[in-house]
Symmetry: C2
């Protein structure tokens, strides 16, 4: 499976993704699921992918080729005027790629080749934007009420984000929050795995402000993982005690 989260803060965007892909439990690999393109000083566009790896790699390849071969650049991510149009373009590529594979495989492959994408970025003169793109090619944008998107194995790590997220939080706190959310997910689903990719994009920087690959033996992640259990238990014990008497 996969776990990716994208967040909008007042200060900018924070993205985190795992790197495990699996076909069954006996065939696992490490693949980067976060891909970023920049035009220094003008735009930064990053996408995270979940779903069928052949589909998402094909989408990335098509995007990458466009950034590389000048004669194909007219619809490239680096030239589209708005993030909305970037989302439209990626959605179209995603839907077409899935449809092509489905058709080639007939009913046999129905539903097997789907994928979802989180798109984040900013183009000069406009706000940082965050989108969730569906296999059907359509998409939604993050809003004040729903300021983050998750794809893949979203459930285990969701309650802490719902409780801990604050639009005004620092990048450091957002990173800590994501590490806790990923820790809960890693503990519960074997098909989400280390290393993790982290990227912070400060508003109006049009470049990655901070990037890190969080490896298996990362001392900070290990500390969070070890101490979150104790912190949760303390939080739990700080709640009022239940009493059999009062409620019977």
């Amino acid at each position: 499976m996969t776990y990716c989260v994208g967040m909008v803060l007042e200060k900018g965007l924070v993205l985190m993704s795992d790197t495990r892909t699996n076909s069954g439990v006996d065939n696992i690999s490490v693949f980067r699921k976060m891909n970023t393109w920049t035009v220094p000083g003008e735009r930064i566009i990053s996408i995270m992918t979940a779903g069928n790896l052949a589909t998402t790699q094909s989408v990335i390849s098509q995007l990458e080729e466009r950034t590389k071969a000048p004669e194909d650049r007219q619809n490239g991510l680096l030239e589209l005027p708005t993030m909305f149009q970037v989302a439209v373009e990626i959605g179209k590529l995603l839907r077409d790629t899935i449809e092509k594979t489905q058709q080639a495989n007939g009913a046999r492959g129905k539903g097997r080749f789907t994928a979802s994408i989180i798109l984040a970025g900013q183009i000069e003169g406009m706000e940082p934007r965050l989108f969730m793109i569906y296999p059907e090619g359509n998409f939604i944008e993050a809003s004040f009420d729903t300021p983050f998107f998750q794809i893949g194995e979203t459930k285990y790590g969701r309650p802490i984000i719902l409780r801990g997220y604050d639009r005004t939080m620092s990048f450091e706190d957002a990173t800590k929050l994501l590490m806790v959310s990923f820790d809960s997910t890693l503990k519960a689903n074997l098909s989400v795995g280390m290393p993790l990719d982290l990227m912070v994009i400060e508003r109006d920087s049009f470049a990655p402000t901070h990037e890190q690959r969080v490896e298996h033996d990362d001392p900070y992640f290990d500390a969070i993982s070890a101490r979150w259990g104790d912190a949760l238990r303390s939080a739990f014990h700080s709640l009022p005690d239940y009493s059999f008497e009062k409620s019977t």
Copy 2:
């Protein structure tokens, strides 16, 4: 959907279930998912059900009839000598009920009528036991390493149980833990809903030690729900801070 949890403690068994059933989001009802039978001083048997309501109600009806009509009692829950045999009997009923409905509906109904059951109880002279019964009629038993079972919408509420569970905990603490787990689940999935049913069965009591229906306006549940957010945020802030400098 549904959320039910059964736990084995040193002191006995703790069960909690929600009561929401839905067919789509515009057709919701309240149904009790926890059913208990006792022979005072000799045995207590409780089951919680998730899945197709017609299937689980049919299983319960068949079980209830057996406890009521003397001529059918030879395989009844109240006369089987061990919890293992009770699990076998319920598993058989569950599988047969699902199969009958599937067959009557042909391929159209495939997979639509499944259900799962958590079985908990104790018979005099034996240990309290906890089982998870699958739609196929087979089952697993809780062990020292896996001392609780969840059915239905299990993911949102799982991390806190994994972190908070302790075999030696009091019934009061276990109840508090389940309330936190249910609160996270209720917040995330509309198809899990109040009121909740709670039952505590002390070892060798062969009767419910404590039963409660936790209603919408339950002051204790409201306090847990309101304060858990703050407690989680405090726990989160007690963790070491991430620093961009140290890791780049």
